[in-house]
Amino acid sequence: MTSHAVEGTHRPPRSVGDRVFPALVTAAGAVILVTLAGVALFLTYEGLPALTAKAADIPGADSFAAYVWPLLYGTLLASVLALLFAVPVSIGVALFISHFAPRRLASSLGYLVDLLAAVPSIIYGLWGIFFLAPRLVPLYDWLAGHLSWIPFFAGPASVTGRTILTAGFVLGVMVLPIMTSICREIFLQTPRLHEEAALALGATRWEMIRMTVFPYGRSGIVSGAMLALGRALGETIAVATILSVSNVVSLNLISSTNPGTIAANIALKFPEASGIEVNILIATGLVLFIVTFLVNFLARAIVGRRAEFSGAN
């Protein structure tokens, strides 16, 4: 390493690109951080008055915590339901595209999935309320009739089908494309060498997938799920359209009394809000912001725990 010895006095000339490019990417990184900090500052500044607001100023609750809790609960519940639908289905579809379908079918299917991601969420909302909800009513009736001993299906079943379960299902369909796309990309990246190693040991196709594709794609699947969760947490219009809200905290998934979600609540209330009410809505936004952060940190922790075995090295 003789070049190091002279570096202090005699810096090697660098090309224009080598100097400009780092500056550009540093600037881009800084813009993201500044934006994020700006959003956080705004939310905190505008939301703070809500935390000290008088009980009389808070609609339907006597403290901000009591106001936001059912909304937070509803947000998390709908998102978790969405993931419960979306994760298995998207892994299945992605696997079919990456490892089972004939090449022509795989590429058109992949294209179709990507197209689904571009459908605006209001369309999903309309589909949910006009198509899906009425068709789910018989199912809810059946669940309430036969499985009412499970708290989730305690009933009475909603007659409109506009339940948190329907909302969760529609959210699930909405996040399906992005998660499928990510999983497909990850699955396709499994090194051929390792797949062949499994096959040469006498693994069936499914065993090969369990030995190589899944372990290799584990962190990618988690990232995809978190991205999907992030989208579900923040989804506004579809939920606002579908859900009939009465701001309760309950495990019951199929009744007409449902918790709302933070994002949908903001959208519904904001047009008529004034004064301290605006601060309260912004404060709920801050809660959503924090929750989204926590979810991402959690995902990172999960992914990082076994990084050594990730196959990245």
Binding site: L193, H194, G202, P215, Y216, E308
Partner: protein, 259 residues
Amino acid sequence: MAKSIDVSDLDIYYGDFLAVEGVTIPIAARSVTAFIGPSGCGKSTFLRSLNRMHEVIPGARVEGKILIDGADLYDPDVDPVEVRRQIGMVFQRPNPFPTMSIAENVLAGMRLNSRKLKKTEASEIVESSLRRANLWNEVKDRLTKPGSSLSGGQQQRLCIARAIAVQPQVLLMDEPCSALDPISTTAIEDLIHELREDYTIVIVTHNMQQAARVSETTAFFNLAGVGRPGHLIEYGPTTKIFTTPENPATEAYISGRFG
């Protein structure tokens, strides 16, 4: 336990490209057969056709016949998965599973064959397989570390341990020592000597001395030119191939005058 292989008039295609043409060779049970020949002549391709691994490459297919102990390898009723459990393979490039520990890598094949493995049984298999592959002393203290934490040569020996852990009847090795130092190479060659008692071994190598040291039979492959199919030029007892080959091309290759 060991099985003989009988190849007659085998053509191997990648799509429309004829990669290997008209190979006919008997491979005796409990023997070591070495494949030598210049790069690109189809040694790996031919080797893969012996345990139907070519089938995992889209478009790859064979024409001709291979008999394993008299049974047709390409019979429609034969399950390629079953074939590969009995005909093990070590690849040209080391490919341990990066998401598994060293011990799990060794046991990977066993886990496919028989789900239930007692703990003591498992650790015995891990130790004996790693010892035979001359890797035990280097990894015995870190069996739970990922397989990808090893050096290239160690990874290759791990792959050999993984392949012999299931006690296959035939062992196909594609340049198993190309990434190894002389000490590990000697260990692998010793292992091959030892395995010959029970197994049928086919080894591809670019190292003439190695072919001469480990094999009883040597087969020389060659190709007439780029884009032309590879051919089996001649095969016979290793001593004969290396001293008095029949084909001038073989002699030229062995004496290092080309390839």
